[in-house]
Amino acid sequence: MRLKLSNTMILIIALVGIILLMGSVTGASFFKASNIQTMAFQMPELGILSLAMMVTMLTAGINLSIIASANLTGIVIALTLTYFLGPDMSTESSVWIVLLAIAAGLLVSVVVGLLNGFLVAYMEVSPILATLGTMILLKGVSIVLTKGYVISGFPPLIRFIGNGKLLGVPFPIILFFLCAGLMAIVLIRTPLGVSIYMLGSNETACHFSGIDNRKVLMKTYLISSILAGIAAVIMMSRFNSAKADYGESYLLMTVLAAVMGGTSAAGGFGKVGDLVIALVILQVVSNGLNLMRVNNFLTIAIWGIILIVVMIANYLNNQYQQNRRTV
C-alpha cells in the first residue's frame, strides 16, 4: 500500500486525536460551550504573533523582536490614551481618541518593521542578530517610557477589542481570522507572496529571476511588525494593562506553532492553513492541561518536549520520503 500523507492531513489527524484524548481525560467540562469560548478568546494573541513569526521564517529569517515590539506598541497606545483621555469624556470623542491611540501604536510598529527590514535587507545583518538587537533596544525603550511600571485602566472600547463579542462570536478570534485570511491571500495570490517563498528556498535564484530581494525582505519584516502591533492591541485589551515585559514566554510558543505548522526554519515552506490547525492543537493541549491543573512550569517543559518531538517527526518523515524517491 502506498501511503502518502500531506502535512495538512497529518495535522488534522493529530488534532482529532488530541481533542478525543483531552475530552476523555478531562470529561465533559472540555466540551462545554463556555470552555470552547474561553479557548476562542485565548488563541488570537498567540495566533497573530505566530503569523508574525512565520512570515519571517518563510524567508529563512526569524523575528525575535515581535514580543518586545508588541509590548512597545501597547505601551504607546496606553500612554496616548492616558494622556488625552479625561475622566468625564463623552463616548463620541473617546472613540476618536482610541482610534488615534491605536494609529499611534501601529505607527510605532511600522517604524520597528522598517528598522528590522533595514538591518536585515540593506545592512545584511543576520536576522537573529538584528532582531536580537532590536528586541533588547525596544524593551529598553519600553522600560524607559514606563520606568518599569504597569499602565492600566482603559476605556470600554479598548476592552471590547479583546473581550467583546460580535454576533455571539468573540471579537479577537474574528480579528485573528481576518489577519490569517489576509496573510493567506498575500502569500498565495500576490507576487509578493511568491517572492517570499522563492527568497526562502533559494536567495540567489530569486535574485537572478529579477526580484529585488531587499524590497521583499523589507516588506516581510514590515508585515511581521504590523501583525505584532495588531496582537499588541488584543494583548493590552485582555490584560487591561501594558508593561515592558508581558508575554515573554510567547516567543517559544510562536516558534513552536510555526514549526508545528510545517514552516521550515531554513525557509521556503509553510502554509497559513497548517499554522492555524497547529495553533488549535496547541490551544486544545494548553486548555486540557489547564483543566487538569497541571503545574505551569511543567506545561513549559511539555511545550519544549513537543517542539523537539515535532521536529524529529518532521525529520523522519522527510527521510522516509527521500528514501522512497531513491528506490
Binding site: 542578530l129 538584528a130 533588547i136 524593551k139 529598553g140 513549559i300 511545550w303 523537539i308 525529520y315
Partner: protein
C-alpha cells in the same frame, strides 16, 4: 601592525578606552585598582559563560539553553553539598557532570535529527528550566556550608585601601583566567580547536578532510555545558544563595557580549581576545552607568543600541570585503 589597526577587536578596545575616559572624568572612582578587581570578580560569571558561547558560535551553531543548564547544575550542587556534605572539588565535580550531560543532550538532538541549534536549544531551555522549577518547587536555597563561604573569600593577593578595607584578586577571577588559558590553548593548538573553526567555516569540507562532525559537536556543546556548570558554581560563590529563576532570561546578555566581541553567527569567526573585550565593554558600561548615576532603566536601551551599531558595523565590513574579492576575480 596594519592588521592590528584594521581589526574589529581594535575598534572595541578603542570604544572601551573612550568609555573609560568619559566615566573617569565624571567619577574618578572608576579607574581605581579596587573597582577594576571588583568588576573582574563580579563579571567572572558572564565571562565564563561567554567562553562557551564563543565555542558554539565559532562552530556555526547557537546555544541559548546554557542559563537553564547552569541553574540545574548549581541547584543540584547546592542541594547535594547541603545534605550530604562535601568540599569544593565535589561541588565543581557535580556541577561539571550535570553540565556536560545536558550539553551532550543538545548535541545529540542537533546532530542526529538535523534540527537547527536555535530551535533545539529554545526547546531544551524550557525543558530543563520547567522541570527544575517543578522538582524544586521554585524554592530558594539561602544557606551554603561554611567551607563554601570561606572559599569565596580567598584571594590570590590582598591589598588594603586608605580606609583599611581589604581587596585583591579574588580566587573566582582566577578560575575565569585559568579557563580562558585552557580555551585559548584548545582553540589555538589542538586538532579539535582547529576542527571547530573548520566546522563553522564549511561543514561539508570539514567532514571530507576527515573530522567527525558528531565528535566536534559533542565536544562543543558539552564544553558549553561544562562551563555553564562551572559558571553556576561561580555564581553561587558570588551570591551565596541559589534562586531557580535568577539567571534564566539572561542568556541573550551573554550572547550580546560575545557578539560585541566580533564572533559571527554564521560560524568560523571569533577570537577569545574579542570575547574578553566584549565582556569588558558590557561590564564597563554597566559599572559606568552606576558611577555616573544614570537610572538603571536606561541599561537595556544602551545595550540594544550598542549591539545594533556593532552588528551593523561588522556586517558592513563583511560586505565591503566580499565586494573587494569579487572585484579581484573579475580582473
Amino acid at each position: 601592525m596594519k592588521k592590528f589597526f584594521s581589526s574589529y577587536e581594535t575598534f572595541v578596545l578603542i570604544a572601551i578606552l573612550l568609555l573609560g575616559a568619559i566615566i573617569t572624568s565624571i567619577n574618578p572612582n572608576f579607574l581605581t585598582l579596587e573597582n577594576i578587581l571588583d568588576l573582574l570578580k563580579s563579571y567572572s560569571f558572564i565571562g565564563i559563560l561567554a567562553i562557551g558561547v564563543l565555542f558554539v558560535l565559532i562552530s556555526g551553531g547557537i546555544d541559548i539553553s546554557f542559563t537553564a543548564t547552569a541553574t540545574v547544575a548549581m541547584y543540584a550542587m547546592a542541594v547535594i553539598v547541603n545534605n550530604y556534605g562535601g568540599n569544593m572539588v565535589t561541588a565543581f565535580l557535580i556541577a561539571s557532570v550535570i553540565g556536560i550531560v545536558l550539553g551532550m543532550v543538545n548535541a545529540i538532538i542537533i546532530y542526529y535529527f538535523k534540527i537547527h541549534s536555535i530551535i533545539t536549544t529554545i526547546a531544551t531551555l524550557n525543558i530543563y528550566y520547567g522541570l527544575l522549577t517543578v522538582f524544586s518547587g521554585g524554592k530558594w536555597i539561602y544557606s551554603m556550608p561554611t567551607w563554601f563561604r570561606e572559599f569565596a573569600q580567598l584571594r590570590v593577593f590582598t591589598l588594603a585601601n586608605e580606609n583599611g578595607g581589604q581587596y585583591g584578586l579574588s580566587i573566582i577571577t582566577l578560575i575565569w583566567i585559568l579557563l580562558l588559558v585552557l580555551a585559548w590553548f584548545i582553540l589555538k593548538y589542538t586538532v579539535i580547536g582547529r576542527g571547530i573553526y573548520a566546522l563553522g567555516g564549511n561543514p561539508v569540507s570539514t567532514e571530507r578532510v576527515g573530522f567527525s562532525v558528531l565528535r566536534l559537536q559533542l565536544f562543543v556543546y558539552s564544553f558549553m555545558g561544562w562551563l555553564a556548570g562551572i559558571a553556576g558554581v561561580v555564581l553561587t560563590l558570588l551570591v551565596q544563595s541559589v534562586a531557580p529563576n535568577s539567571i534564566v532570561g539572561k542568556e541573550l546578555d551573554v550572547l550580546a557580549a560575545v557578539v560585541l566581541g566580533g564572533a559571527s553567527l554564521t560560524g568560523g569567526v571569533g577570537t577569545l581576545w574579542g570575547t574578553i573585550l566584549g565582556v569588558i565593554l558590557i561590564a564597563t558600561m554597566n559599572n559606568g552607568m552606576t558611577l555616573m548615576r544614570i537610572p538603571a532603566f536606561w541599561y537595556d536601551f544602551f545595550i540594544g543600541l550598542i549591539i545594533i551599531i556593532s552588528v551593523s558595523a561588522s556586517a558592513y565590513q563583511n560586505r565591503k570585503k566580499k565586494k573587494k574579492m569579487i572585484a579581484i576575480e573579475i580582473e
